[in-house]
């Protein structure tokens, strides 16, 4: 098991008022799975993603990533886990506008302490793999949405993460680019065995996944693996 989530509860406090966003969530994900998380907005799927991505910690419960209990980690330790084990892909691409495609992809390697020479080599290699070998020196605004998202995927992959987390990766793309992006995820999963977790509310995107989980009111209400 690459991910084990046990009885995770997440409560947000707004003064006196408490909001239970995740209500006793437990789930296990095996290495090499291609998982799609679905659910309406406010169902807790984004909070769940943030916890999986070590951007947030649970109020209670345990989260083992690659055998390590990260639920009690502090800021610096979480940053290191994000850097080494997790690759993020966002709906808004979240590229640095003033950096070239190559520099954007290099970014995680800077914080990993990789030398400039090696950073460039690895970033170039990954960009070529997502089909942007010719555009390494383009700035994000010179690229189409699909191309920008491919740069973001390259950035997520560059430090050889244990898992890829994508939050609505096709939300800002047209259907043709969406399919292209999902094909990249599919290929990565099939060829490299990369554990991939994608949040989406589009059923045809979710159908790319080998396993689907549905959130509602902070609980998992459907898990295709358990049914099978």
């Amino acid at each position: 098991m690459i991910i084990i989530v046990e009885n995770v509860i997440k409560i947000y406090k707004f003064g006196e008022h408490e909001l239970k966003v995740l209500d006793d969530v437990s789930v296990s994900i095996e290495k090499g799975e291609f998982l799609c998380i679905m659910g309406p907005s406010g169902s807790g799927k984004s909070t769940f993603m943030n916890i999986l991505g070590c951007l947030d910690t649970p109020t209670s419960g345990k989260y083992f990533l690659d055998g390590i209990d990260v639920s009690t980690f502090k800021t610096d330790e979480l940053a290191e886990i994000r850097n080494k084990k997790i690759g993020f892909v966002f709906q808004q691409f979240n590229l640095l506008p003033r950096a070239t495609a190559l520099e954007n992809v290099e970014l995680p390697l800077i914080y990993a302490g990789v030398t400039p020479k090696e950073r460039k080599e690895r970033a170039r290699e990954i960009l070529a793999r997502v089909g942007l070998g010719e555009r390494v020196n383009h700035y994000p605004k010179q690229l189409s949405g699909g191309q920008q998202q491919r740069v973001a995927i390259a950035r997520a992959l560059v430090n050889n993460p244990t898992i890829i987390l994508a939050d609505e990766p096709t939300g800002n793309l047209d259907s043709k680019s969406s399919i292209e992006i999902m094909e990249i995820f599919k290929k990565l999963n099939e060829e490299k065995g990369l554990t991939t977790i994608i949040v989406t509310h589009e059923p045809d995107i979710a159908s790319f996944g080998k396993r689907q989980i549905r959130f509602l009111d902070g609980k998992i209400v459907h898990d295709s693996k358990k049914l099978a």
Binding site: D76, K84, N94, I110, Y111, A112
Partner: protein, 409 residues
């Protein structure tokens, strides 16, 4: 180190991307550092000049002038009566323990001739102690000796200006000059002293033995009377004691009653100049302090810009954190940015300050002094301003929540 060099690169890029803003932020520091450097240069220049003057008149110098007598109810000025004598000078030297050396002077102005050159200058008859009192040595030849004074030899020690005017490139030692048509042998050349604090050229002078001066040059002076007496106190602290001792001794010797006024004046030049030096120092500290305020304002400008920059780049910070930047990496990035702003500002401010100082000194003839030390202080201070005013914005950036930062529009 890899992280650091990359972070520096990142910081530089963001500054280049916002050229106008960067320039304006730096401008505040440039003006601040420039003002500090200029004010310190002017201040130290002024106090250096005074220190130089103190050194040039001779340290711990006391002047004893005759006169200031009252004749029939009319108070006369200093020097109206020749009340001081050679014997007074000897007595001061013997009986005032706080005085280390005494040199009486009989002086006048005379025309000096060498070959076809002539020059009018002050001729001072004095004793060998003059070199000690005024801390003034000869650069070549020798000064007047006891023997010269005893025998009243016709020898002269000349100042640099006189040497230049009469001899040009020639070596004056051993040459004969005529003072009031009387031949004198030049035996020594004095070291260069420069201007006195009253703006007089101190090198425009000739020293002769006091006896010669009295007997052959300025014979109208009553025998044994001197124009003034130079005395040198033990130390700066003992000047008031020495002054008191001299006053008491002279009142005794001149038989001045308790209610009568002195028939001489004792002037303490060192003390006067020290006071001037103190006030100049205070002035330069004040100027520096006022200039520092502008540097402070420049620092606040940097802080303002950095806060804007942090807010604007919230999303960027979120992205960096998501891919593994630790709070300290983010903090470093913004600190380096502000440090860079102030360092660049410091460099240009230094150049501006040096330029402004040179301009002041050439346009207004102000004495200035730019020291490496003051430049380093201004530079270091601007770097400190960068860290100090950059820290809060950098800290603010580093504690952002990555989830919220990523959502920031």
């Amino acid at each position: 180190m890899i992280v650091l060099s990359s972070i520096i690169n990142i910081a530089l890029r963001s500054l280049i991307a916002n050229k106008m803003r960067t320039f304006l932020a730096i401008l505040g520091i440039i003006i601040g550092v420039g003002a500090v450097v200029t004010m310190v240069a002017v201040g130290t220049g002024a106090s250096n000049k005074i220190s130089e003057q103190i050194a040039s008149i001779g340290s711990n110098l006391i002047l004893i002038l005759p006169g200031a007598t009252t004749q029939g109810g009319i108070r006369m000025g200093i020097g109206t009566q020749q009340t001081l004598t050679m014997a007074d000078a000897e007595a001061i030297s013997k009986e005032c323990p706080a005085v280390v050396a005494v040199a009486p002077v009989i002086s006048g102005t005379a025309q000096i001739v060498y070959g076809n050159q002539n020059w009018s200058t002050a001729v001072m008859g004095t004793t060998p102690e003059m070199t000690t009192v005024r801390e003034w040595e000869v650069v070549s030849g020798r000064f007047i000796t006891e023997q010269d004074v005893r025998n009243g030899t016709k020898v002269a020690v000349i100042g640099q200006t006189v040497a230049e005017k009469l001899f040009g490139d020639l070596d004056p030692i051993g040459k004969l000059i005529r003072i009031k048509k009387i031949p004198f042998e030049v035996i020594g050349i004095l070291d260069k002293k420069g201007q006195s604090f009253t703006g007089q050229d101190q090198d425009d002078i000739i020293y002769v033995p006091i006896t010669t001066s009295q007997r052959t040059l300025f014979g109208q002076v009553l025998p044994g009377r001197v124009r003034l007496i130079y005395a040198k106190a033990n130390s700066l602290e003992s000047i008031p004691v020495a002054t008191e001792q001299i006053k008491t001794l002279l009142r005794q010797r001149h038989r001045i009653g308790i209610n009568q006024e002195d028939d001489f004046t004792v002037m303490d030049l060192t003390q006067m100049l020290k006071a001037a030096e103190e006030s100049t120092k205070t002035m330069s500290i004040l100027l520096g302090a006022i200039a520092s305020v502008s540097l402070l304002v420049g620092g606040i400008g940097i802080m303002n810009i950095m806060l804007v920059s942090v807010t604007e780049r919230t999303r960027e910070i979120g992205i960096r954190m998501a891919v593994g930047a630790k709070p300290k990496d983010i903090r470093m990035q913004f600190l380096i940015e502000s440090l860079f702003l102030t360092t660049i500002g410091g460099i240009f401010g230094l150049l501006l300050g040096i330029g402004a100082s040179l301009l002041l000194s050439s346009l207004m003839q102000w004495p200035i002094s730019i020291s490496i030390f003051s430049a380093l202080v201004a530079f270091g201070f601007s770097a400190f301003v960068g860290v100090f005013f950059g820290f809060y914005p950098a800290y603010k950036a580093s504690v952002l929540n990555p989830i919220e930062a990523l959502r920031y529009e």
